[in-house]
């Protein structure tokens, strides 16, 4: 009861508007859903277990195949194989264009901010992360240390345009 009142009071303090909204759960499920769910899942689990056992059997079979192939790596065969492999690798390499793509610039910015979060002003970070421009957020009761941890977590969700303002 004490915990419930604590949570209610917290919400009232944060947002009297939201605390006035009647808390309802408006979702429903089909009839007998929960009655039949455990058996359905058990059936899935049995199928999944059977499939994994088949994979293990296949893996054993593959182990035996590799044993036979390892005969090819005896010295008398290895030189020829090595030459062939070099030719194959070289032809694949020269037939492919080098990948010149670089990480998007905003991803690099996010990484930089995350790595150097201490150097950024908490107010600016808060401004960048708010939902509506001009929103005045009340975070005075929250320690800066916890704010930094919070911002590290939400850095990926801050808009690219807001990121630019931080630099």
């Amino acid at each position: 009861m004490k915990k419930k009142n604590e949570i209610k009071d917290e919400l009232k303090k944060l947002s009297p508007f939201l605390s006035d909204i009647k808390k309802e759960d408006s979702f429903k499920v089909p009839k007998n859903y929960f009655k039949s769910l455990p058996d359905k899942i058990l059936e899935q689990v049995r199928v999944t277990t059977e499939t994994s056992e088949k994979s293990i059997t296949q893996a054993n079979w593959l182990d035996r195949l590799f044993e036979y192939i390892s005969v090819l790596f005896q010295p008398k065969y290895a030189v020829g194989l090595a030459t062939a492999m070099i030719l194959v690798v070289a032809s694949v390499y020269y037939s492919q264009k080098p990948d010149n793509s670089i990480e998007g610039p905003y991803q690099l910015v996010r990484q930089y901010i995350e790595d150097n979060i201490d150097e950024f002003d908490a107010e600016m970070l808060w401004e960048a992360s708010v939902y509506e421009p001009g929103e005045v957020a009340n975070h005075e009761n929250i320690d800066d240390y916890y704010l930094d941890e919070y911002f590290e977590e939400i850095i990926d969700d801050i808009d690219d345009s807001e990121l630019e303002k931080l630099l």
């Binding site: 915990k3 419930k4 949570i7 919400l11 944060l14 947002s15 508007f17 939201l18 909204i21 808390k23 309802e24 759960d25 408006s26 979702f27 429903k28 499920v29 089909p30 009839k31 859903y33 929960f34 769910l37 455990p38 058996d39 359905k40 899942i41 058990l42 899935q44 689990v45 999944t48 992360s129 708010v130 939902y131 509506e132 929103e135 957020a137 009340n138 975070h139 929250i142 320690d143 240390y145 916890y146 704010l147 941890e149 919070y150 977590e153 939400i154 990926d156 969700d157």
Partner: protein, 201 residues
């Protein structure tokens, strides 16, 4: 149809209505010949709590159904590794939350890549959903929730709907209590702003 009620208020997290304890469930799950029996008991004890938590993240019943099945399959595969360092329900909630977030992130990627030009409208979707019977304010509340980053959505739901303590949430989400407070406070503000804005339109 069965309607959800806020049963969490009186739900005893350690025992089900049939007085099965977590220790009994875990003990059965550790025995190869009894694992199915133990696992079924586990599902019967926790399925509703986990389902509603997932449902409030993904909104649609079909999606929640997929996620909860994935969750329990994961639980089954790793129950033998559960060391009891956290409470069983904390561990289950953690898996369910991660599965829901993974699902939502995948769904986001697919819808971004989709060539379908129709704009996604949760309000219309909920209006048409036979498994949703909330009024307009409830629809708008879930619309506001949908704007939040996935983890922040989980934080809000656990505090607002399930009235969990920050300590319990910290065990589930692996975030400090202070970080969770910041996240929840921010989520509340964002939702308030959104609801006031739509109310004035």
């Amino acid at each position: 149809m069965i309607k959800a009620s806020l049963t969490h208020k009186s739900f005893d997290l350690q025992t089900s209505a049939n007085d099965i304890t977590d220790d009994q469930i875990l003990s059965l799950c550790q025995e190869e010949t009894k694992i199915e029996q133990g696992f079924k008991l586990l599902m019967q004890t926790y399925q509703e709590r986990l389902y509603w938590h997932i449902r409030r993240m993904v909104f649609e019943h079909e999606d929640a159904n997929d996620v909860i099945q994935n969750t329990f399959i994961k639980v089954y595969k790793s129950i033998h590794k559960f060391e009891g360092k956290s409470k069983l329900y904390t561990w289950l909630y953690r898996i369910a939350t991660n599965e829901a977030i993974t699902f939502l992130n995948k769904k986001k990627k697919i819808s971004t890549a989709s060539l379908d030009n129709e704009e996604y409208n949760l309000d219309n979707q909920l209006k048409a959903d036979e498994y949703f019977d909330g009024d307009e304010i409830q629809r708008k509340l879930y619309e506001a929730l949908d704007q939040l980053p996935e983890k922040q959505k989980a934080v809000f739901n656990l505090r607002y709907f399930e009235e969990m303590s920050y300590a319990e949430m910290s065990d589930i989400l692996g975030t400090s209590v202070g970080g969770l407070k910041a996240s929840y406070h921010h989520a509340v503000k964002k939702i308030e702003i959104y609801l006031k804005r739509v109310a004035s339109e």
